[in-house]
Symmetry: C2
Subunit: 330 residues, 2 copies
């Protein structure tokens, strides 16, 4: 039986490559010490992932589980226009879980952290009689008093999203189902579900360009768009035809006879960003995003009013409710 000390030491080794100059003391003391910069605020956010609720052994590898739990929190930092600095990870581990699998979880955590120069600076490890529970908390930095909030959308602003939406939800259905789709599309769908890439670069560009509001898409476009509408006291009017949906999601939707827009609106965990900006700011952001290979798409306008409405190809307006993403139940 391994001693607690040896277990911690072996897990620490898995993440020791995740360092940056802002973290002065990492794993090994009561708390991590993170330096501050005079022109920056810190942002902090936490996310929990539970086996059987957010993932199954059939939908995610051990590596994916660690990667994605961190990605969820880093995505929140991205939505504020920030860059991640330090992360802590708390795990409640079933006794029957092999230690080697736990090491793979940490490899995934390290993989995501290295991608964004974020230091895994601490954590807690405990056991549980229930399913595996992971909680990531990420500390990020944003320019002082300039964090991108959900509350700044103004009538007349452009509504935009980064990347493509609905891909993760289609990926999850592919993983638990029996749909037949081309191999390339399968790969893209699975990747979107298992290893979503938080939009840190896009968030920083959007903040620099003066975007007025931003939200990350963890619970689906419908839910996140409604949050911006509610917090800003405006209506978001979306042109459904402009919502960027991957050909892989269209392939999958055909195979399961569903409307691809349903994945886009109600699928979650894409970790793309939805936001608003004046036409001028949007143009600046679009040019910068294009120059670094980030897809940014205008999908609608902000109006006076409330809620979210979608205009379809026939000009019909539909109210989009804030329905969320329900993982494996209901």
């Amino acid at each position: 039986m391994m001693q607690e000390f040896e277990r911690i030491e072996r897990l620490r080794k898995r993440v020791e490559g995740t360092v940056n100059k802002h973290v002065k003391v990492a794993i090994g003391d009561d708390a991590a010490v993170v330096g501050t910069e005079p022109d920056e605020d810190h942002v902090v956010t936490t996310d929990t992932m539970v086996e059987g609720v957010h993932f199954l052994p059939t939908t995610m590898s051990w590596y994916d589980i660690g990667y994605k739990c961190m990605a969820a929190s880093v995505s929140d930092v991205a939505a504020m226009g920030g860059r991640p600095i330090a992360a802590v990870l708390a795990l409640a581990v079933p006794e029957e879980l092999d230690f080697e699998h736990l090491e793979m979880v940490y490899d995934g955590v390290a993989g995501l952290c290295k991608e964004f120069s974020c230091s895994l600076a601490g954590g807690d490890l405990t056991r549980t009689s229930g399913p595996l529970v992971l909680t990531s908390t990420v500390l990020g930095a944003v320019p002082k008093d300039r964090a991108l909030l959900r509350s700044g959308a103004q009538p007349g602003d452009v509504v935009f999203v980064t990347g493509q939406v609905g891909t993760s939800a289609a990926g999850l259905e592919l993983l638990v189902g029996t749909a037949v789709v081309p191999v390339d599309s399968q790969l893209e769908l699975r990747q979107a579900h298992q290893r979503p890439l938080p939009q840190v670069t896009a968030g920083q560009i959007l903040l620099d360009a003066g975007a007025s509001a931003c939200n990350d898409i963890s619970d689906g476009l419908a839910s996140e768009a409604n949050e911006i509408a509610a917090m800003s006291g405006v209506r978001l009017r979306i042109d459904s035809a402009r919502i960027p949906i991957s050909p892989a999601v269209r392939d999958f939707s055909r195979a399961v006879r569903k409307n691809p827009l349903d994945y886009a609106w109600y699928g979650g965990e894409d970790y793309q960003l939805i936001g608003t900006a004046s036409s001028r700011s949007f143009a600046v952001a679009l040019a910068r995003c294009e120059s670094v290979g980030v897809k940014l798409t205008a999908i609608g306008r902000v109006e006076a009013g409330d809620g979210v409405v979608a205009e379809d190809e026939n000009g019909t307006l539909n109210v989009i409710e804030a329905k969320g993403f329900n993982h494996f139940s209901k």
Copy 2:
């Protein structure tokens, strides 16, 4: 069935009194925004509590559960010499848990946070098929480059502890057992287990006074003293007779025919501080602690060497192993 939004809103109300001027954006956006001060570093720490591992319905009220999960992280901030600023709380909640009980958990969180002017600034709420899992993460502030670490103990330093130790562990045994002890002692023991008070004031005094090392006592004096010895590359020599043990623990020990020192060494969750300081710094800290009603006791000396040794009344030296606290099982 309550909507997710309404649940979050009702829980938010429970903690809305936990505010401070450092938190610019609290619950309600992708992340909380926390201001920084040019002369401070931030510290960050996380703790997980699992039903059946760290508590049982018979040992803790719902309020206590919320209070104590936060206390665990605030205690780590105290051990760095810091003050807590912002906290986030992630919960994995069994479906059968009454919402009213969840509200009481948040009341306990709010109770602890208000005690230390810490803002509950965010969180995550998810369900689980297993036991209740709580993860608190606390962000604190310390004077720049002066965080109290475990690694600074020097031969010749005084070893000290705050308060009294072993009380929480005796309290837990009282709660799950059948020992007969006086009512006043019962009250003190239970209180120590259910509502331990993190030593934030003591930590700040110790930092100001120039203490050389510090660690909070979450896993028992033996374990924490060994951590300081290992991280500092020194030996801690403790005079067993000087370890501050409450009369209530002595009452309880008599009732269960155990050595009170066993609770002191190996009992956990006291959330007191153990540390080291030069004689001069210790004298300064002692005077300041006395002036604010904080008990500080010299219990030994730092020597060249390694590990922890305890000298008993007969002058016999015993090596104290880094055994931890085992909650309800191994």
